[in-house]
Amino acid sequence: MAVTRETAAAVRDVEQYKYGFVTDIESDKAPKGLSEDIIRFISAKKNEPEWMLEWRLKAYNYWLTLADEEPTWAKLHFPKIDYQASYYYAAPKREKLASLDEVDPKLLETYKKLGIPLLEQQMLAGVAVDAVFDSVSVATTYKKKLEEMGVIFMPISEALHKHPELVKKYLGSVVPYSDNFYATLNCAVFTDGSFVYIPKGLRCPMELSTYFRINEKNTGQFERTLIIADEGSYVSYLEGCTAPQRDENQLHAAVVELIALDDAEIKYSTVQNWYPGDADGKGGIFNFVTKRGACRGKNSKIMWTQVETGSAITWKYPSCILQGDNSVGEFYSVAITNNRQQADTGTKMIHLGKGTRSKIISKGISAGRAENTYRGLVRIGAKADKARNYTQCDSLLIGDKCGAHTVPYIESRNPTAQTEHEAATSKISDDQLFYCLQRGMTQEEAVSLIVNGFCKEVLQTLPMEFAVEAQKLVGISLEGSVG
C-alpha cells in the first residue's frame, strides 16, 4: 500500500491533526444561546417562507419538552451539554456570490488545505462540490451541467426558494421533527445543508459531494440534507467532514433524509474525520447525527457506507426503512476509535414490504483507551413476507485497554423471514506484526496494512477517489497505537 508512507510523512508535517487550522474570516453571528428569537433570526436571515418558520418553532417547542430526554441508552460518557453556551448561526460575511472569483481567498485557501476540488480546473476530476462552510454554502460547482440534466443540487436554503413544493413534500417525511432529542434540535436550528433531486430515469453521471467544515469557535453545526431519487434514478453522494482543532467540545447534530422511489437507488458515502480530541480526551467533536433513508418504492435500494475515524463521540445509526416490496437496504461501516474516543454506531433495518432484503457489514477497530460499540436493530414487520437480513459485525482490538461491544437487536414478526447474524472479535497478533516487520515494513505500515485488510469489504464499496483517502485515514488515525 503505497499510501501509507505518504501518510506518515504528511502526519509528521502537521503533527497530529492535519485539519487543525482556523481560518480567520469575519463572521456574521447570532447572539449566543437558544431561544425563539434566535430561531426567528435564523429564519429571517435565510428569508424563509412562513411555513418553514412555523415548522422550526414547532420543533423548538417540542424540544423544550424533551429537556430530560437526552438519549442515555448509548454506551457513551460525556458531561452534560449546555445548549445555551453555543452559537447557532455563524455565516462568513459576503454572501450571494456570483462566481468563485468572489469567494474570499482565505476561504479558498482553507479548501485547498482540505484538498477540496473547488476550482474550475479541478472540476475535471468529475466531482461536483457543494461546500458547507459553517452554515452557509458559499459556492456550488457544476451546477449548470447538472441543471441541464434536470438534477437539482443546491444548498437547502436555496431549494426552499426555488423548489418549495419538493422541500415541503419531503422535509421531515423520513425523520419527523419529533424523532429524537438531537434531530428535533436540528429541525429548530438547522442553518444549511444540501438538497438533491434526481429526476425520473436519470443515472446521475457524476458523484455528488459535500464537504462540511466547522470553523467558527463555539458554533454547533446543524446541517440538514435531503436527497430524493425519483423513479428509476440513481445517485451516488459523498460526504466528507473535517473540523479545526479546539480545546472545547463542539456539537454537531445533523439530519440526513433519503427518499428512494420505485426502482431508484441512492448510494450515500461518508468519510468522517472530525477532530477527535487530543490523546487525553480533551476537546473534539460530539457527533450526534440522525441519518435515515426510506425505500418508498418497489425494488428501490439505499446503501450507506461510512468510514468514521474522527469525533470525540460518535452517536450515529444510518438506517433504512424498507417500505417498497423487494426493496434493499445495505449498511457498510468502518468505525475506528483511538485514545479516548467513543463510538456507539450501527444501523436500523426496518422491513415492512414483501421480499425486502438488508445487509449489514460492520467493522469496529478499537485502540488506546477507546470504546467502540456496534448497536443495530433488524425489525421485520408482520407483512414483510420472505424478508431477509444478513448481519456481520467484526471487531478488532489493538492493545489491551480498549473495548469493543456488539449489541444486536433482532425482532421478527413474520415466520417466513430469515435473519442471520455473525460476529467475531480479534486482535492484531504478535505473529502478524512480526511477519510484516520481517518483510521490512515499519510498525505503522504494518498496522495500517492489517487494519485495511480487516476493513476491506467496507472500503471497497466506496467510490475510488474516496477509497484512497479512506485507506490513508485508517493509517493516520491509528498512528502510535502499537508499541
Binding site: A2, F434, L437, R439, T442, I450, F454, C455, K456
Partner: protein, 251 residues
C-alpha cells in the same frame, strides 16, 4: 569479511538459556545447513537473527556486512537484507498477496533511497517472477496465506524472497509439511536465487531437503551449540546414524 558473522551468540527465552555460544560465518555465495533434533534451538537461532521480540541476547555479536545487527529493530534488519522464510507463514486476512508484496518492496526501496515502484512496473515484475517460479499468477490476488495449502504457503515465501532479493536468506524448516512435488518446486525456486552475492542459512530436521538444495557446509546444532561441522556428506551421515551421538557428547 563474512557476509553474516555470528560470534559466540547466547540467547534465552523467558529466562531459560537456549543458545549457548553459536559461532558461524557465512561467506557470500555460500549455503549453510543447520541440522539438529527438535528443541535444540534451531528456530530460536533464526528468530534471534531476525529480531523477534521475546528473545533476549545475553552475549555475543551478529554482523551483516560488518554492521551490528543486534543494534537494529526487526524491520531495519529486514531492510538491511535479512530475510526469514517462516516455518509457519502467517495469514493476513483481506490483504492480497500483491498488496503485501508491494508494501514490502516499497519499504525496501525507500530504505535504499529509490522511488516507490510504479503500479504497472510492479505487476510486470510479479508476473515475471511468478513465471520463473512456475507459480500461478492468480495467487497474488488472494489474501496472503489465507486458505493456502502448505505448499502454496511455502511458495509464497519463496516469491517474497525473490521479490525482495535479500543478502542473507534464512529458511526455517521450509520442508516441513511439503510433499515431494512441492519440495521440488520450492527448492528450485531457492536454487534460482543462489548467487555469488547472497548467502543462505537452511534450517532443517531432515536430510531430504538437502538433496535438492545442496549445501556447502553442514552444522549440527545440539543443546544450543554447534556440535559438529562438515561438508554435505555430514548430512548423509546424520540421516544414517541419527543425532544420538551429538546429544550424548553435548550433554
Amino acid at each position: 569479511m563474512a557476509l553474516l558473522e555470528i560470534k559466540n551468540l547466547h540467547a534465552s527465552v523467558a529466562g531459560k538459556e537456549i543458545l549457548k555460544g553459536i559461532t558461524l560465518a557465512l561467506e557470500p555465495g555460500e549455503v549453510h545447513a543447520i541440522m539438529g533434533p527438535n528443541g535444540t534451538g534451531k528456530s530460536t537461532l533464526s528468530n534471534v537473527i531476525a529480531g523477534r521480540e521475546g528473545y533476549e541476547v545475553t552475549k555475543g555479536e551478529v554482523y551483516l556486512d560488518g554492521k551490528d545487527v543486534l543494534d537494529m529493530a526487526a524491520d531495519e534488519r529486514a531492510r538491511a537484507g535479512i530475510f526469514l522464510a517462516f516455518q509457519y507463514p502467517v495469514e493476513i486476512p483481506g490483504v492480497t498477496t500483491s498488496a503485501f508484496l508491494k508494501t514490502a518492496l516499497n519499504a525496501k526501496r525507500r530504505a535504499a533511497g529509490q522511488p516507490e515502484i510504479d503500479a504497472m512496473d510492479f505487476l510486470k515484475l510479479v508476473k515475471a517472477k511468478t513465471a520463473v517460479l512456475g507459480m500461478p499468477y492468480d495467487m497474488i490476488k488472494r489474501p496472503l496465506n489465507v486458505g493456502f495449502s502448505g505448499g502454496e504457503k511455502k511458495r509464497a515465501e519463496v516469491l517474497q524472497m525473490t521479490m525482495l532479493e535479500p543478502r542473507v536468506a534464512i529458511l526455517d524448516e521450509t520442508d516441513s509439511g511439503l510433499d515431494i512435488d512441492a519440495l521440488k518446486v520450492v527448492s528450485e525456486g531457492v536454487n534460482s536465487l543462489r548467487s555469488p552475492e547472497r548467502a543462505f542459512l537452511v534450517i532443517t530436521h531432515y536430510q531430504r531437503l538437502l538433496d535438492y538444495i545442496v549445501p556447502d557446509h553442514v552444522h549440527v546444532l545440539a543443546n544450543g551449540r554447534i556440535a559438529a561441522s562438515g561438508g554435505k556428506e555430514l548430512a548423509l551421515e546424520l540421516e544414517a546414524e541419527g543425532y544420538a551421538k551429538y546429544l550424548n557428547t553435548a550433554a
